[in-house]
Chain length 425, copies 2
């Protein structure tokens, strides 16, 4: 079955919003053996009509996002009904769900909001657990082929659960004999793309029917394998053997998920002391469900006085070497280790820019330290001259990977199989 | 002139990569009076042909990305030449640039790489400062209309400088009399989308030639106005009057940018104490260049012991009311205020989920507090039952907005005009 995705929204074509729907839906559809063959973005308004008409000529499944809201520029529902030749009518159940939602939140319901209770005749309503506008599913026939049209809300927090909980099961019924091919993604930290390819070598190319892809990201390389489970096992054997400790995750887990899982397996607890990363490392770690079992405290010591008061970094040390120095990085990590009575403590101090650079320590200079009980403190120096947010990302990758590699040397408490938890755990 | 963008790349349709080209190009084109009317994503291969043929029927300017590389699935160059009826020939200058690039990096040049030196007859070469494959510009006539086709590399680090340095100046020559229309985006926090439209009211609709758009984001509504400067002034008057303090930013600044600017204007300094947001608020604030002038310290007190040791929250208070309580939120904010000798301190304590909820305090419950010198501490309770990352985002919006509204009551140190700094400051 051919699938097309139409994203509506003037904000997408003005560049105010990066479209994340395609990537999300593609990953959700893949296990069903479905691939999106074409994706189209059009502005709010009449352009939706042309795009939908064209997609209905080509695809059996048309997914549309956006334009279901209460404001006057939201007309996806109306255009679709018109194009499919069905009338809209107010649906009492939908209206009641909307009223209840407003009542629960103590907000007065305006006349405008009621538009969202309009449902094309014969359409199925997909209830929206995180917003007002429901999704809609309609069937139509063009050129004697049955077409399945899904109208879905634009905001990701409404779309994502609706797609996972309602749309995917409906599509599973439409394509019962899903292809048995799987996609596995491996993440490698601390090695460049061409070196990853060289390390993996040519043996993997001898495996039949494996689709191999390399993708370089800031501070990370991703290797993608698509194929049958048996072939994927053979490929994985090679990848694991050749990459060794450089392989950060074999199931597309993030570095923070791996670190939280490895800490948990060893029953070890972490603190972080951040200057230039400004809370970003703590934030990444606390994004992982269950982080509270292994994460004790973070100290975002942006000002020098905070380094002294919260982490007991000697102000004379800062005076002598500067806040961005190997010595202060080490003292910050050791201070955090003591202050939180943790087993491991990471620290970062550097110059994110745009200002603050010197000849000796230009913008992008950073020191990352790891203190651990019963080990000497390790400090590494890096240089990431880039924008502020990429800088934080690169430094957090370096810090988390330093901890990951150190953890691998320590034995897990129980000898259970190596497995990192997914987001849902 | 109508502009369309075709992004080619199987990785985009597999969901491995989020397409950031549309947002980037749209923002670059807007000041030229150009808008992308349609964006299409197709996989590598023959699908490119159909997409290009269709776009050439509709648009005067067609931008294409991807498929210019050395591998066999990179055929954008060949398909375009064929469709426009021109032959490809090896370009000696391009070949030399490629050879030099490989020599400089000490890598042997394979036969395959030479494909990238093929140039359609009559095309202009756009040199690639960050990669091997050059961009190409071709002119063609369809239906007696001149069409301008740009083939551009897929990797953002090659595309971005090429687009800015070479494509934009060429487009400026094509559309010399750029329309004088501007785009202004307003951000509203603490009010829902339908209520924002109701608050603004109908007066704004009477202004001629204003394109108005509403966009709901988690914890924020964005209102977009496009029009001539004079009409935009009239629209802004209405928006500012009607929305009052709910208008968080009038220049598309983020809430953290507004807060940093308002603190700077008042020469006030901030500390934060985060439990459930886990460093996310500190991270948002430190994303703003110049944050170091107003941000002293963040305490990510995830464990109860950290609340006690870093913030001096009485453990008996935690025992009596629970860590997620009005009392502990207040004590955390007051503790951070004292520990960092700040003027303002925000705190958050809540249940992000998925675990940890109770009947009285279900998942999503959160207390946000603001302590300030010479004021009594304010505490607000919210409920955001959602996923972990959206929860953090919603709580950070509530906390930053509480601070923003409080700051507005305090007089700036100098009476300079209200203006929030852009990212580059």
């Amino acid at each position: 079955m051919r699938v097309e995705l139409i994203n509506t929204g003037t904000e997408l074509l003005l560049g105010n919003t990066v479209n994340s729907h395609l990537a999300f839906m593609a990953q959700e559809l893949f296990p069903l053996g479905l691939r999106i063959q074409r994706q189209i973005t059009v502005p709010d308004g009449e352009a939706i009509r042309d795009a939908l008409r064209e997609s209905l000529e080509r695809a059996e499944i048309v997914l549309m996002t956006g334009g279901l809201g209460p404001t006057t520029d939201d007309i996806t529902r109306e255009i679709t009904a018109e194009l499919l030749g069905v009338e809209l009518a107010e649906d009492a159940t939908v209206l009641q769900a909307i009223s209840e939602r407003f009542a629960r939140r103590g907000i007065a319901m305006t006349e405008r909001v009621k538009r969202q209770a309009q449902v094309p005749r014969g359409a199925s309503v997909l209830s929206n657990a995180h917003g007002t506008a429901p999704g809609l599913y309609m069937k139509a026939a063009t050129k004697d082929v049955t077409r399945h049209v899904f109208l879905l809300p634009g905001p990701p927090r409404e779309l994502v659960p609706m797609f996972r909980n309602l749309v995917i099961p409906m599509l599973q019924d439409l394509v019962p004999g899903a292809a048995a091919s799987e996609c596995r993604t491996y993440r490698i930290v601390g090695v460049g793309e061409s070196n990853v390819e060289a390390m993996i070598g040519d043996d993997i190319l001898a495996i039949e029917n494996i689709e191999l892809g390399y993708c370089a990201r800031p501070g990370e390389v991703q290797v993608r394998c698509i194929g049958s489970p048996a072939m994927l096992e053979r490929a994985e054997q090679i990848i694991v053997d050749k990459l060794g400790a450089c392989l950060a995750a074999r199931d597309n887990s993030s570095l923070e998920q791996v670190v939280v899982a490895e800490l948990a397996k060893r029953e070890r607890r972490l603190a972080v002391a951040e200057s230039c990363t400004g809370g970003f490392i703590a934030n990444r770690i606390t994004n992982v469900p269950g982080a509270s079992a292994v994460f004790l405290a973070g100290f975002v010591t942006y000002a020098n006085e905070a380094k002294t008061s919260a982490l007991c970094v000697d102000s004379a040390l800062i005076e002598a070497h500067g806040a961005v120095s190997q010595e202060v990085a080490a003292a910050m990590a050791e201070g955090a280790l003591r202050a939180a009575t943790a087993d491991y403590a990471l620290s970062t101090t550097g110059i994110a820019g745009p200002g603050g650079g010197t000849d000796q320590k230009p913008v992008g200079t950073v020191f990352v330290a790891l203190a651990a009980r019963g080990r000497s403190t390790e400090v590494a120096r890096y240089s990431y001259p880039t924008d502020r947010e990429t800088f934080k990302w690169m430094v957090s990758q370096a810090a988390l990977d330093l901890l990951r590699r150190t953890l691998l040397e320590a034995k897990p408490v129980s000898s259970q199989e190596h497995r990192t938890p997914g987001r849902g755990n």
